[in-house]
Symmetry: C2
Subunit: 498 residues, 2 copies
Amino acid sequence: MPLSRRSVLKGALAGAAAAALPTRAEDERAPIYEEIKRRHDEAVRRIQHWIAKPSIAAENLGSEEGPLVLIELLKKAGFQKAVPVKTDGKAGVFATLDAGARRTVGLYFMYDVKQVDPREWSSPPFEARLVDKPGFGKCIVGRGAVNQKGPEGAFLAALHAIQGAGRKLPVNLVLVAEGEEEIGSPHFAQVVRSPEVLQALGKCSGIFMPSAGQGPDGTLEISLGAKGIIECELVASGEKWGRGPQKDIHSSLRASIDSPAYHLVQALHTLVSPDGTEPAIDGWFDKVKKLSPAEEKMLDAAAKHMDEAQMKRQFGIQHWVHDADFRTALVRLTSQPTVNIEGLVGGYTGQGGKTVLPHRAVAKMDFRLVPDMGAADSLQKLKAHLAKRGFGDIEVNMTGGYDPNTTSPEAPLIQSQIKTYRAAGYDPLLWPRGGGSWPGYVFTGEPLKLAAAHFGLGHGSGAHAPDEYYVVESTNPNFQGLDGAVRSFVDYLYELAA
Amino acid sequence: MPLSRRSVLKGALAGAAAAALPTRAEDERAPIYEEIKRRHDEAVRRIQHWIAKPSIAAENLGSEEGPLVLIELLKKAGFQKAVPVKTDGKAGVFATLDAGARRTVGLYFMYDVKQVDPREWSSPPFEARLVDKPGFGKCIVGRGAVNQKGPEGAFLAALHAIQGAGRKLPVNLVLVAEGEEEIGSPHFAQVVRSPEVLQALGKCSGIFMPSAGQGPDGTLEISLGAKGIIECELVASGEKWGRGPQKDIHSSLRASIDSPAYHLVQALHTLVSPDGTEPAIDGWFDKVKKLSPAEEKMLDAAAKHMDEAQMKRQFGIQHWVHDADFRTALVRLTSQPTVNIEGLVGGYTGQGGKTVLPHRAVAKMDFRLVPDMGAADSLQKLKAHLAKRGFGDIEVNMTGGYDPNTTSPEAPLIQSQIKTYRAAGYDPLLWPRGGGSWPGYVFTGEPLKLAAAHFGLGHGSGAHAPDEYYVVESTNPNFQGLDGAVRSFVDYLYELAA
């Protein structure tokens, strides 16, 4: 039985050794664990059903149905109240489950998924097929499988299992969800800051998002924060520039007419160091905090327990930037702001060439922010930097983004995670800050000041990439399948109640 | 009657004043001129029919039918022989019309057209609708209307008119055509250098391409050469670079993983001056010849007779590069090599954003070359420049291109053009070199060393752009409609025979 496996990882934290025998709590929860096994197929189908109803904010696809599908899933899982929350963008969802418990815990869900190019997938991305993946086990392959419908579906399965075993939930739940996470959560603050939602969240001891926390090598991290982000398009055009053409013209005219596409290239060039790696925007590092000694210690521990070669294979890379060593690469992932080109689109983009001088070119960008950089302040710095260098005409169209967030390792939300993982036989690595972003700032910032994090056993990968997967039957001792993930949520809720 | 109009342009050449009364030659050709008018509708339909059968080399569209359509048109126009010529790419066409005349003249045709994005057109690009264009007259609007099926169709109409009037052609014709002009003529040399074609062309006194030579302001140029070109894709990828990912990965990893897209931007940056206008490739100007005093004189004359404001309106620009004056802009168009971005395609190119770190990015480029730059030598310089700066991994995939070409103003081919235009009441401007490119080098270079140029009255615009048009009934005294264009070809053939 996978859950009885004890991690072979050495404890990365003081006093990491977990008891090898079943605890009293585990015995009490035995009927729930049985119910998880009994309901395995139902839980798989629930995730498949959800994946088959995609909502893609970036493409305005399924945005009407998205919140309704989630609301139905929540009601079936025992939420007494589950309603859409209108915003200036896609609707959010607010739901509550009152179990008459002493404590209340917050949950953050997203119902939107990333775009897909079905030609890149080995099975149709919304069919959510079950595929045997050698070395991993049986997986659901589909868009949203791990980001985030799989883990969220596992959490819902935990509620079904607890209630199916005739138990009351050990905590009350307040859930907020959005359908714009993948475009930078431009309206999520409107969901959280509506008075009713704010009041409900104010009662929570913390808030978490279900996730698949286990790496393919067995690594299990508790991330104590996330980077902020600015997602935007930089648009150069003859119209705005007042130079170059206002429509695509014959490229022979390039000899005497300016090129908005090259204007964009020259602007992009100024945003990074000559080797293309470091942000070079004026004042970009002014508010960047160095890692604390405690955070440095976490990274020392992490570097020892993570498999560098496996990570490089996973990302398809041979070198880190600057040929950095592994610890440096980890430090950068957690503490370095970034300037990234997501995509370039300008002029003729079809097959072969076309001798035009384009009137317009676009760079789709993301900028990851670390404490204490703010999204609004950083956006102003970017604009000022461009203007100072003669690129003030280039439009900076921010489509989403938010500040970074931080949660203390001492918060009960985090301490309960450590206890739950250890009780299951895993030694989590504390991680100062994930390289990715999520809008936890709406919880950790004013006025709520909640602890906020991700939680969950299980494994999946391919977020934002083709063939995204979530393991439902693990054949690999490094990570749990779906039932193990569901059990981790049951155990976490009991731990949070304790 | 438009043709009786005498140009109000001052003579840009010594002795430019043309006779105001009909010449003897004009009287002899009166029945042919009548035939042109009688066959006007037939000539319009021929062009429309041809536009409705597009061949687009860049998209591998209609490449089988393209040469066959042209061959049928040529046979109907009196060519005794018209056959496809196989190449490693799309087939060319070789045709001869033996009129038993003393002199033989060469013709260069293209049957391919540029790509289209129908959404950008106000009428379907292959329907070739007749549209009333205020200030211009009745126009055929369609892809290839002016580049080059309209003028080529007008030339065929001239052959129909001469023969329809019961006359023999005054010259024999040797015609070569290709279906890859719009992708840089990568295989046209194979057409010209096949022994039979080479022998036939060797008998020619020169070779010309039918064109619509009149600008909207009445400008009429004789271009004495063309720039060469390199069309290529610059491709940056993690795979070739050995840095950065080998597939698109989550953009949070940008903090520790190199970006092939930014690698491409930094490479593009080095190819031009900081303001984005001048080529900055090592050795790029080594072989560039200054304009001769005679060429400078031609430009002085041209600058006085061209309408700068109208040109700026036509191109949708407010300034020339460097805020140059008009003469400088003209000098640059004729003598400055270029580095142009035709298109940028990298990473996520769809709607909105997508937080990926792309593994690959492409810049579609064209480089215009002036004498004595060679295409092969310039390609090597580009590659060496990139390699020297750490961008040797960036693929330089040349898809087409060729050397520049030059023809002497003293050549009988050119002198006959001047005489024909003047007899029609127009004073052509001699122009040292067009800003655009055509593969005239196969004729002007070894072994043929033919004079080569474009010829034709008439007006059209929008080559490579939406709503391309060719005027068939002019309401504007500045330029001829279709019948005037056809007549100019008749007159030119008689002048070449004289």
